[in-house]
Symmetry: C2
Amino acid sequence: MSKPEEKRTAPPAQPCCPALTERELTAEEAETTAAMFKALGDPVRLRLFSKVASHPDREACVCDIADVGVSQPTVSHHLKKLKEAGLLVSERRGTWVYYRVEPSVLAAMGTLLAVPAAA
Amino acid sequence: MSKPEEKRTAPPAQPCCPALTERELTAEEAETTAAMFKALGDPVRLRLFSKVASHPDREACVCDIADVGVSQPTVSHHLKKLKEAGLLVSERRGTWVYYRVEPSVLAAMGTLLAVPAAA
DNA sequence: TGTGAACATAGACGTATGTCGAAGCCAGAG
DNA sequence: CTCTGGCTTCGACATACGTCTATGTTCACA
């Protein structure tokens, strides 16, 4: 524990993987992808994400979404996690900070869960 | 039509939700839905799930998927979690136990992440 | 320049989670 | 019945996680 490990703030948002039903994921793919699912795996984070995602232009000021039943620092903490997972990006505009969803990542996850018509 | 359902600690997520971009989730919806994402939020579990999902007929014997770098009891533990989340169902056939994906749940999650063309 | 508002960071604390080895259960073969 | 192989459960442990309060930082405006 010596060097400050830097967390990814840039989206890994590649066409990361095929549909889960197509072929099994490699250990590496699983690591990356699981991180995204994990980010949405908390009720508070999921609500925050859906609040941002359902806002006009899919972006929202923190002050507009902060009412989720936990303290303000906790909200900030969760938004940071979502950002680190590449699901949101943030931008400061004067007094306020806006969070916006990364559509490519959303699409990638959708693809991952796509289930072919074959039954 | 209706067959005896097995016990789950997490309720089925059939009617669970609209797309995340459509409207914000209620606290209750978020709770249910987050549980599913959480289940896929671990690399080992995600690999196990993709192994089952990519097998013929989307089902596989434990012995076919157990090679994910952790001990066998740990594999069993993770499969149980996936089952509790409603993502897999299991069935014993003689000596072996088979796990199968629940397609409806997969589809529900896909819908959740669907991104409208609203750009 | 000072003050207040909006967010972020730091540190602490209790609980949940992932992992293992050992032991238990169940079904098939002798 | 006994033995053996496949899988689950049990008990224990270290770490990660979510939450809080207190404190920082950055901006707008008088």
